[in-house]
């Protein structure tokens, strides 16, 4: 599968209702907030984690879609079978130069692991080729309007330790965002996929899988903490060339998300209007709406 030939940017909108999209370890797991603006944040790594989990779920962790950065819940040993079935022959050539060897290792990792091909990875070698920059770069997602996290006290009617038995119940805390619509920006740099020496070989199929992951990943990430999270819109800008045909920021500015004039307190995605200024789409850029 050959590497992608086009640069892309995307605007990804997702929302949360009565849940905590991304806890802040500095703040006792309260939802992340930008203190000056009160806008909610979701880190890039949080979203990438969900993409990895989705791909692992869909592809069963088998090469060429294995996931290097795994959560413990995933069973490692399943890999072997699939790998043997595929019969990919490794090519450990005895190369005299260390750099060439490192490049071979890197290439092999890119070929087998989806997350390394997509997001990159740092591998220990003393040559530069051991570090891969993946074509996909994501930024922090930020909420459209300020969020107001709420602390909910909950009780549990059983206790953990016998010595607490007379207490009958224990109290716990949960943080929720009643509602928040988040906007995230992403970049796909084709050059980092297709470059002769540094390219990771990230293909059209991989890209398709990545966009599917964005659309569907929240449906496979249900938990008590998350509440209801949902992908709302995925708007993709496809450039005609690998280097791109327009400034990324100018494309992001074409997508405007605003609260409906009669709504004071957003509680649903339908309280927002998403407008795309199609008339000002620069030449050589295609707009693709996946959601």
């Amino acid at each position: 599968m050959s590497a992608i030939q086009n640069r892309y940017e995307f605007v990804f909108l997702f929302d949360v209702a009565n849940g905590n999209p991304n806890g802040d370890p500095d703040n006792g797991n309260m939802p992340r907030i930008e203190t000056q603006t009160q806008l909610g944040l979701v880190s890039d790594v949080c979203l990438k984690r969900k993409v990895r989990n989705y791909v692992d779920l869909v592809k069963g962790g088998e090469p060429p879609f294995a996931i290097y950065m795994q959560e413990r819940a995933i069973l490692n040993n399943q890999h072997k079978k699939g790998y043997e079935a595929l019969g990919i022959e490794p090519a450990p050539k005895k190369l005299p130069k260390k750099e060439a060897e490192a490049r071979d290792l890197t290439r092999w990792m890119c070929t087998n692991y989806f997350d390394i091909r997509t997001f990159g990875a740092v591998m220990t070698t003393d040559v530069n080729a051991g570090q891969v920059r993946g074509p996909i770069q994501m930024t922090f997602a930020q909420s459209i309007d300020p969020i107001v996290p709420q602390e909910i006290s909950i009780t549990r009617s059983s206790v953990t330790n016998e010595r607490d038995a007379e207490k009958e119940r224990t109290m716990g805390r949960k943080f929720i965002v009643p509602y928040g619509l988040y906007r995230s920006h992403g970049f796909v740099s084709a050059s980092l996929a297709g470059d002769a020496t540094k390219g990771t070989g990230f293909s059209e199929d991989d890209l398709e899988l990545f966009f599917n992951a964005l659309v569907d990943m929240f449906d496979h990430d249900r938990s008590a903490a998350r509440g209801e999270m949902n992908a709302c819109r995925l708007i993709i800008f496809k450039h005609a060339s690998a280097l791109g045909n327009a400034r990324a920021q100018s494309l992001f500015e074409l997508v405007k998300v605003s609260l409906k004039p009669d709504v004071k307190l957003p509680r649903h995605f339908s309280d927002y209007i998403v407008t795309i200024d199609r008339d000002n789409l620069p030449a050589g850029v295609d707009l693709i709406e996946r959601l």
């Binding site: 790594v45 290097y68 072997k80 591998m123 051991g130 930024t139 060339s241 327009a246 400034r247």
Partner: protein
């Protein structure tokens, strides 16, 4: 500077990590020359040229914010990759992130904008058809159209940089009215030496502008 370029870069957040505080990252007060070089290289670079940063204009007040994230503690070990490759199986070649957790805080800059003034020099690897005009033209064309080899970032990749070329004759945006000593700042990494030592310089913010010493000048300390 006959082959100078001016590029406006901005973004909601940035982290130009101080080398002495890199476990729990603390950003320098401003864009560093090496990060500025990285941004220019993301737009256009060939082995035939070397970017040299002349001045950095700081356009927004310097403000910080702290972000703590779950990170992993180790890199992929080359030895194990090699074994797995020879064996032809991916078994046990994965990193269990919850077992190798490190929670690290980053002190990052918020709401930044800079003007990078730079020029390039031809290197020993320049061929006969590598003229200064050609590379300048390529850079300007790309920057003007918003093209780039990969999306440039403000220190780390999660903080993407928006960039805009400031064309010849266009007035420069106003820098902040601030003069202060920023202390020793990373100038760049010396990639030509085997252990890649860091090079530093004494950064002075004068009316919002940092004059960056030229390569080989005595102001650059090892």
């Amino acid at each position: 500077m006959p082959y100078g370029v001016k590029l406006l870069v901005s973004g909601p957040r940035a982290c130009f990590t101080r080398p002495e505080m890199k476990a729990e990252r603390v950003s320098y007060d401003t864009l560093t020359p090496s990060a500025a070089r990285g941004i220019l290289e993301a737009i256009h670079w060939k082995p035939a040229i070397r970017w040299v940063i002349d001045r950095i204009h700081v356009l927004q007040p310097i403000r910080f914010q702290s972000i703590r994230r779950n990170e992993v503690g180790s890199k992929a070990p080359a030895g194990r990759i090699k074994t797995a490759m020879n064996r032809g199986s991916l078994e046990d070649l994965a990193l269990l992130v919850d077992e190798d957790r490190q929670q690290r805080a980053s002190t990052v800059l918020v709401d930044v904008a800079y003007v990078i003034e730079a020029h390039f020099e031809l290197t020993a690897r320049a061929g006969a058809d590598d003229t200064e005009g050609k590379h300048l033209e390529m850079f300007n064309r790309r920057a003007e159209r918003g093209q780039c080899f990969h999306q440039p970032c403000l220190g780390t990749r999660e903080f993407a940089a928006d960039f805009r070329l400031i064309s010849d004759g266009e007035p420069l945006p106003k820098a902040i009215a601030e003069t202060r000593d920023l202390g020793f700042m990373l100038w760049d990494i010396d990639h030509s030496r085997p252990d890649r030592p860091s090079l530093f310089f004494r950064a002075m913010l004068e009316n919002g502008v940092i004059a960056v010493p030229q390569p080989g000048s005595l102001e650059i300390r090892r």
